[in-house]
Symmetry: C2
Subunit: 404 residues, 2 copies
Amino acid sequence: MKVIEGGVCAAAGFYAGACHCGIRKSIKKNDLAVIASEVMCNAAATYTTNRVKASPLLLTKEHLADGMAKAVIVNSGNANACAPDGMENAKREAAAAAGFLGIDADDIVVASTGVIGQRLTVECIEEHVKDITMKQGIAGSEEAAWAIMTTDTQPKTVAVEFEADGHICHIGGICKGSGMIHPNMGTMLSFVTTDCAISSEMLEKALKQDVKKTYNRVTVDGDTSTNDMCVVLANGLAGNPQITEESAAYAAFAEALHFVNETLAKKIAADGEGATRLMTCTVKGAKDEATAEVLAKSICSSSLVKAAMFGADANWGRVLCAMGYSGAEFDIADVTVTFLSAAGQIVVYDHSVVLDFDEDLAKKILSEPDVEILVELAEGDGNVSCWGCDLTYDYVKINGDYRT
Amino acid sequence: MKVIEGGVCAAAGFYAGACHCGIRKSIKKNDLAVIASEVMCNAAATYTTNRVKASPLLLTKEHLADGMAKAVIVNSGNANACAPDGMENAKREAAAAAGFLGIDADDIVVASTGVIGQRLTVECIEEHVKDITMKQGIAGSEEAAWAIMTTDTQPKTVAVEFEADGHICHIGGICKGSGMIHPNMGTMLSFVTTDCAISSEMLEKALKQDVKKTYNRVTVDGDTSTNDMCVVLANGLAGNPQITEESAAYAAFAEALHFVNETLAKKIAADGEGATRLMTCTVKGAKDEATAEVLAKSICSSSLVKAAMFGADANWGRVLCAMGYSGAEFDIADVTVTFLSAAGQIVVYDHSVVLDFDEDLAKKILSEPDVEILVELAEGDGNVSCWGCDLTYDYVKINGDYRT
């Protein structure tokens, strides 16, 4: 497996492009993107668990019922959730993409992100989708990655090359994250494409399993959005024999998919609204993986831990506290807490004994942009990492006045 | 029932006092308080559900096993949780109070609040507890209320007078809240005293039921502390026949206790860390009370809703979103959302139809210090209010660097 350029257009036969159609009036940032494959794709998706689901998501579910899709249209600036004429406008958005690409509307994935509860001005999508120029490779991917951003500060993209049954395959993706991010599926928009030949069933299996270990282990603010979706399109142009069972080729595909998803998930955490640093919370030695996950998520979600990270404050008591109220079972008499980063590592609580530690070193370690909180238990082999970010003034600022 | 002065010393035979013993070195704020009754009390308490429990709380559980207590000692500045010599120091703190008051250490409730994981400097408690002058009425109550504050900005106190079997009784309390506040029992330190004669069993029953509808419906930041406890002491000096069953007198007592607890709970929410306003989230017409509570708590806990409140932004889409991911069942096709305050009220989402509303009026309503989000469903008679506060720059500031 090798990291390559090209993002969502790294795989053969995928194109992308974007334009400013005018959903966002205040700033002239592109707000409409299209990603398309030359040929029909097998497709799989996972969606938000929020009971309130946006219209485009409901429409996409219908379109993917046959496990096939050929393109994605996605707008930022308006979520088309709880909005007047929601389903009608999602259908019009799909029809606009279908007309532009000359394909069936049934083969279009529709996604939206932005403010909830306002009518989508679908007319400007219908008028301007034709302004898009579809491009190959990194150029197309970058355009789409920028267009789907809301309060994200940077585009999120990754791609790798891998081998399946002797054929070189490519898989890559783009995503957006930022606010309303919490581990409960979806938690963002993520579009992944591959030229690997794989059946819809195996694609869905690989995606469902992997989402649990990647996107669902990211939290920014505990709010699970109405619009989250992760879609994978596989067009088979790499020419490998189609993967239809759990073969070595499937394992190679699953590994590559995992790398792409984990990389995108971490980028979402690092670019959480207002974040100044990526916070990885790792729990090792819990009695099982489920316990490790509950503990790691609880630490990663704690407002007090997140605020302490912002202040580069080695407040390990809050880590213990967050473990304690998580609901998970663990032995409080044998807990070791270590803070790590590129600047070094420091044990602050050693087998449940409070240590006198070097506060200056701790501050230095916690001031890095990529910080890990490592909790070690001695009860089993449950090891899990979750990703989040610090809680900052800017989070409050961004969300105190988002609509206006 | 009539609101009166006197707080935790409103009931006959209760005294309180405080001193600066030196746990907090940086500022000379009182950090040690004692509350005591002239005569032995029946006692009941509820505690944090956090798996990590502070030593004073574990000791208090032991001391209250017989349903009796005579006094409370409480320090701020150090939680004595996950701390070296925790249990030993909690016992020394109890012994210090016992020596000062000339009573058994077994009859002492010990409570601590402050930073986790640092050794309690119990020596300064032992040395300075004798500096306390015990006072009656509002003077004693105010001293204790100030001494237990951490990042609270104001003392929290209330008292009422009620009648039980023809005898005038008094009940009142003090509490502290601020950070690490979330509905999951305890969620603060609260000390309530009454001169009403009531058995330990009935006292415990009344407290356990009421805590669910008061303190457990408050959230500030989703972090449930290691130290939370609510203690009620009843010394019987009002002279009423002891309440031993669910009589009319019990109902009067329960009503008065509820008023005290609800008032204190709302004061905790309003004075949440960094808060600029009290946010009441009310759900009416849910299919049952449990559903209403899950929905109201989810709205009240949402970082995005809380940040919108800070910005006085009528972002009702976030209210819907928080309901959607709460896990509760409700009909998304019939939801009405109204914002209310002293400045008026405005319906923004009417039976799931988006309304064009007056943004200026909405801003005015949401700029008040006491704001309510009312969600109306049409599925049953589940009605619940929860209390929280907005998420502000100051929350981040306070918690970014709490230890130093």
